[in-house]
Symmetry: C2
């Protein structure tokens, strides 16, 4: 506003775009730090000071970008939701994986890879202030609904084709897949130090789809 009255406007559009890109880059760095810390120690144990320190800016600057700690966490959840949507797109574009059942397996595998990479933010489902921030975040809710719808279609298709147990309610299958994102078995097995990440994922994938029982 004030600069407009003092400076020529020729370069204004480009400059504003540049500034906005810087702005977005900074916010991306913030969300990355939040994402990592949420994956590492969870929402309650993560402090805003830590986030600021990891990004390398002052805490007050953080609050210029995000109005509260809850919004920081919500931004991280939006990002991971978008990553999930991008993966689903990739999967649908992949001619090698067209069977819905195989796609569900691929989703579960991806989910666990993200968790083992320390990039899966996990939030407590009980915290009410956090739930409020999430349920009022349109980007998050829309993303969650979109992911659920697409997975839901694959689930019912897999049940129709006879590869997935048709006795299980689709919602139970959906939640079971979601739960792989925070399955503590991955961390337990990693802590045992006996298996590689790939081996761990394959084992949990087998127990998830084939069960503990012998076939």
């Amino acid at each position: 506003m004030t600069t407009a009255t003092l400076k020529p406007q020729a370069a204004a559009p480009a400059r504003r775009s540049f500034r906005e890109q810087m702005h977005l880059a900074r916010e991306d760095a913030i969300v990355s730090a939040v994402n990592r810390l949420l994956a590492e120690k969870g929402f309650e144990a993560m402090t805003v000071d830590e986030v600021a320190a990891e990004v390398g800016i002052a805490k007050a600057s953080l609050y210029k970008h995000f109005p509260s700690k809850e919004d920081l966490a919500a931004a991280a959840m939006v990002r991971v939701m978008n990553r999930a949507l991008a993966f689903l797109d990739e999967l649908e574009a992949n001619p090698q994986v067209t069977d819905p059942y195989e796609r569900l397996r691929a989703v579960a595998r991806w989910t666990m890879q993200v968790q083992l990479a320390g990039e899966m933010p996990s939030l407590p489902s009980e915290n009410s202030t956090l739930r409020a921030a999430l349920t009022t975040n349109k980007a998050y809710v829309d993303g969650l609904v979109s992911v659920s719808d697409r997975l839901g279609a694959w689930i019912t298709a897999s049940q129709a084709s006879g590869r997935l147990n048709p006795q299980l309610p689709p919602i139970a299958v959906l939640y079971t897949l979601y739960a792989r994102a925070c399955d503590p078995v991955l961390g337990f097995l990693k802590g045992a130090g006996l298996y590689s990440d790939e081996q761990i994922i394959e084992m949990v994938l087998v127990t998830c789809f084939d069960g503990l029982r012998a076939r």
Copy 2:
């Protein structure tokens, strides 16, 4: 000490036993409150003030019984571990359930029942101060080892008898069973409001042992 020089000792043994019983009863009330709060909101979100309020005593009195918040949590874990051991005893004494595979199923079911009843304390595995309190707690460590050993025996027996997938490392099976204690799917499905607790447990039991895949 001082009372000993002032009062006759005839009734001392009984009286001391009574006092000790009161002491234990109070500690039991404390651990119950901690157990409930840990199940409801987790370690970080639980405050010592809440515990004191729920028990109905002053916070300072709490610290006469337990030296730190971590020790409170450890006591709750010891208690649930003892409950688990008692259940294993019960199971071994039950002539109706002698097959190791059925025993493992029963353990998983019990674990989920406890969680759905809001009585399963859950701790973050990352918190270092908490890990220190747990790993230095002999009662807890011994209980955990004992439970793991007994389950481990049933696991290998079930694999030998061909009911449990022999390709899975026993430790992976063990961790998978432990993970039912904090499986978020139970809470998700409960939140959906479509199924009874018994139905929820049966569904998760099926997915755990039979897998999502059709048989």
